[in-house]
């Protein structure tokens, strides 16, 4: 395969990535997000990155026990900034679940009674 051909395939995918998921059927109306979000429009690069981080986040959710539909539903409800805040650190951000109290209590009591004097 020659490079020109490869390049044109790459171009095709880049364009598809940019346009397909964002085709809203709203003709040339400027989108609400573009105006309302503090980030404003930063060009196609941002769109591609957003799309990538959305699908990455969805896959990360799948890896954490959700099915594909649930994962994409959850990501759909998030803003670009929120998706960005998760990118690559779903394991690092707090997950409120309150499951460790018993263990913590045991450790704490040991500490309390063993070391208080």
């Amino acid at each position: 395969m020659n490079t020109a051909f490869k390049k044109s395939i790459c171009r095709f995918f880049a364009v598809a990535l940019i346009t397909l998921p964002f085709q809203t059927g709203q003709a040339a109306m400027i989108g609400t997000d573009q105006v309302a979000s503090a980030a404003m429009v930063q060009g196609d690069r941002t769109l591609v990155l957003n799309h990538l981080s959305r699908s990455q986040t969805a896959s990360a959710f799948q890896a954490m026990g959700l099915d594909a539909q649930e994962a994409s539903d959850r990501v759909a409800g998030m803003t670009d900034a929120e998706v960005g805040s998760l990118a690559g650190q779903i394991n690092a951000v707090p997950a409120g679940g309150d499951g460790l109290v018993a263990l913590v209590l045991v450790v704490f009591f040991i500490w309390y009674f063993a070391f208080r004097r």
């Binding site: 709203q26 003709a27 040339a28 109306m29 400027i30 989108g31 609400t32 997000d33 573009q34 105006v35 309302a36 979000s37 503090a38 404003m40 429009v41 930063q42 060009g43 959710f61 890896a63 954490m64 026990g65 959700l66 649930e70 539903d73 959850r74 759909a76 409800g77 998030m78 803003t79 929120e82 998706v83 805040s85 998760l86 779903i90 394991n91 951000v93 707090p94 997950a95 409120g96 679940g97 309150d98 499951g99 460790l100 109290v101 018993a102 913590v104 209590l105 450790v107 704490f108 500490w111 309390y112």
Partner: protein
């Protein structure tokens, strides 16, 4: 698990003990700076006592304080939903818990606006005093251990020094301001409310609340977006983002006349706004008024280096094409 209220009390006492001990070394004020701040300045227009006793209660199932807390505020906002139903939106089996962004994202699927509060006691108290239950993220682990937990603040009694929470399996947990802040500050004072689209949070700021609405706009019902933007514009009439949002919703629903009226009002405040000009051109063109549309889109094309240049070019091409067809 936070099942036993007795355990909680004991833990609160232990935490208090640990606090005192630490306080002796580092000075109490630095441990709970916001509680100390309240002593000097209580937020204006907030009563010292307030409680919304109508807020429902969903005792938490294993690890599932996220869905339980969320169901509490969603049902309070008039949405029929159960914690079990919310599991699929806000629970990660692998993490045995719910992430903050999931908590913010889930209510939007029910056409409610989730608003993250400013990380301050006064914002929290303002919301609670206005009757809005507030979801908070606490770290109730002791010492070096973290143990994240969502609870819902429904009231407070400052003279008695207590806040009232729907928490875990406790319907009305009374917790001192100091202990509460100690557990709450580790989440950087994370708090949120979920409100129907026609109700602006008591502590809402213009920019943040607009972002909250447009986030709901992604997945909520169109009618909810229309209501949210309209209510927003009553409070902040000059906001161009909300006007464009409202007009886009009208446009998507096929209400071209409403879209035009909304954009006309926005143009009165912002005659040179490119999004307003461009979108109005699109609407007028759809209404068959291509001459007017062309004039607007030419004005929209004027600013150099506008981030909307591409959209304006497309609109202009469309208008010209339609004019060609008409002739």
């Amino acid at each position: 698990m936070d099942s036993n209220p007795l355990l909680w009390c004991r833990r609160v006492r232990l935490t208090a003990g640990a606090l005192l001990l630490l306080g002796g070394f580092s000075g109490c004020a630095s441990l709970v700076p916001q509680t100390m701040g309240l002593r000097d300045t209580w937020p204006a227009d907030v009563a010292v006592r307030s409680e919304n006793t109508e807020v429902p209660f969903f005792p938490q199932q294993e690890y599932q304080c996220g869905p339980a807390a969320l169901a509490t505020t969603l049902v309070n906002a008039g949405t029929a939903v159960s914690p079990e139903e919310l599991l699929k939106l806000v629970y990660l089996p692998e993490r045995k818990g719910s992430l903050q962004v999931e908590m913010l994202a889930a209510p939007r699927h029910y056409s409610l606006v989730s608003y993250q509060l400013a990380p301050r006691f006064d914002a929290l108290l303002q919301e609670v005093a206005a009757g809005n239950p507030v979801i908070v993220l606490q770290d109730i682990g002791v010492g070096p251990f973290t143990d994240w937990h969502y609870a819902v603040v429904v009231g407070f009694d400052y003279p008695a020094g207590e806040l009232f929470l729907r928490s875990g399996e406790t319907r009305r947990l009374a917790i001192p301001f100091t202990i509460f802040e100690y557990t709450w500050q580790r989440s950087n004072y994370w708090a949120m409310v979920t409100l129907p689209p026609g109700r602006i949070p008591a502590s809402a700021g213009e920019k943040d609340y607009l972002a909250a609405i447009s986030a709901m706009d992604r997945v909520g019902k169109p009618a909810a977006s229309v209501l949210a933007y309209s209510t927003f514009l009553q409070r902040w009439p000059g906001n161009v983002g909300a006007s464009v949002g409202l007009a886009n919703r009208h446009y998507a629903l096929g209400a071209l006349a409403d879209a035009e009226a909304t954009l006309q009002r926005a143009a009165a405040h912002h005659p040179d706004s490119v999004p307003v000009l461009n979108n109005m051109a699109q609407v007028l063109s759809d209404l068959g008024r291509n001459e007017e549309a062309l004039a607007l889109v030419e004005r929209a094309a004027r600013p150099e280096g506008s981030p909307y240049a591409e959209a304006v070019r497309e609109t202009r091409a469309l208008v010209l094409q339609r004019m060609g067809k008409d002739r």
